[in-house]
Amino acid sequence: MGEALRDAWAIARKDLRLEFRTRTAILSALVFTVLVLLVLNFGRDPTAVAAVDLAPGILWVTFTFAAMLALNRAFQLELENQALDGLLLAPVDPASLYWGKLIANLAFVGVVEAVGLPVFVLLFNVPVAHALVPLVGVIALATVGFVAVGTLFSAMVIRTRFAELMLPMLLLPFLIPPLIGAVQVTARLLASRPLSEVAGALKLLAAYDIVFVLLATLLFPLTVRE
């Protein structure tokens, strides 16, 4: 067990180090996120709809895009340098491979979200300080949901012809439950509703995460073994 975790961590570190060295992916994701927020900000009529009503939707659209970008690049890196073959030959438990990718993807998306949230608060003038901790919590929960399934699917999709199109298409139905939960909870948190109101949604998000991380860990070996 300990070895599996160590392997996973090693894979994650390798990915993240590559990211950090080249920096193109993370920078383009950050720029894209800010751009999306700017466009959505310019596009709305502040007199027609209050920012706090639109805010959850806008926030989550942005975060979903960021997650998709992260997932797309996850295996591209390997494929480009045929490093994927090297990884498969290594005596690594495929489940560790999944966890390594999962951790790396989560870190990537996490950084984008950590930058995106303050930019969002700035642009849309939506106070979040009163609910910052639960907000970060729900963002984390939903993100784990997206990325868990997305990491599994990107392993399958990478060998197909139109990988960049296939991934969003396959992933869409799987994004809906965490998105519904996340938007609900975010809306209520921003409106200063008590946490007890969203307990059900949070439980659903957590359940989703646990179920799909376990399922993906179980199924991942099937996607990479030749």
């Binding site: 139905p173 809906i176 439950p177 519904i180 939960g181 359940a207 179920v211 399922l215």
Partner: protein, 223 residues
């Protein structure tokens, strides 16, 4: 080929039942007092939805069986069930809004039923697209099984999350489609609808499996 012949006869029987269903639903089932004739769309929409869900369950189940037993027939069954499920999803997705418009005053709403139907359709579409994109049969079967299982596990979450959404957002409705304590004539029509769709499903799947089998055999012959 036996499967094909059985499938064709079953489909014919199903089509006959469909005709019977139409006659019974349109001419011999009473009109619902508060919703009007449009309520009868139920007798088509609900059985189609049940069948589509069943098809998805079978896709997932067949995927599990394939992974455990590595019998190609399960993969062919999954492929067939997905395609047939898509057809029923189209019925579901088209009749749903046509029903919603007179009853709820709007073509679309993110309520439990309609959202579920849309997502089910997208799941099927994704499944078929994935199959189309992977050419090597073993890999395709494996990937399809993975996606099918994930889809199956997703279904309860879709239901739960949309239910959550609905309870938090009470929806204004034009007409009250109250849970009808279905009078026997209506219940019977609904059950007839369910039986019809199931028979059609079986006939379609049998034919589709026969088609897949033939393609595979011919693929080997040419290889």
């Amino acid at each position: 080929m036996i499967l094909l012949r059985a499938g064709r006869w079953t489909t014919l029987a199903g089509l006959a039942m469909l005709a019977g269903l139409y006659v019974r639903a349109l001419a011999f089932t009473p009109v619902e007092r508060f919703q009007g004739a449009a309520q009868k769309i139920y007798y088509i929409h609900v059985p189609a939805a049940w069948t589509a869900m069943l098809a998805m369950a079978f896709v997932g189940g067949a995927g599990i069986l394939y992974l455990l037993l590595r019998d190609r027939r399960f993969d062919r069954f999954a492929e067939a069930s997905a395609e047939v499920g898509t057809a029923f999803s189209v019925v579901m997705l088209t009749t749903g809004p046509i029903w919603a418009k007179p009853i709820w005053g709007t073509w679309w709403t993110w309520d439990a039923r309609l959202t579920f139907t849309l997502l089910l359709f997208l799941l099927f579409l994704g499944y078929l697209t994935l199959r189309g994109a992977v050419t090597e049969p073993d890999l395709r079967a494996r990937y399809s099984a993975v996606l099918g299982i994930c889809g199956l596990v997703l279904l309860p979450f879709i239901h739960l999350s949309v239910y959550l959404f609905r309870t938090l957002h009470p929806r204004p409705i034009v007409l009250q489609p109250a849970r009808p304590a279905l009078p026997p004539e209506m219940l019977l029509t609904l059950l007839l609808g369910a039986a019809t769709m199931l028979v059609l499903y079986a006939g379609f799947v049998m034919q589709r499996m026969a088609l897949a089998h033939r393609r595979e055999r011919e693929g080997h012959a040419h290889a």
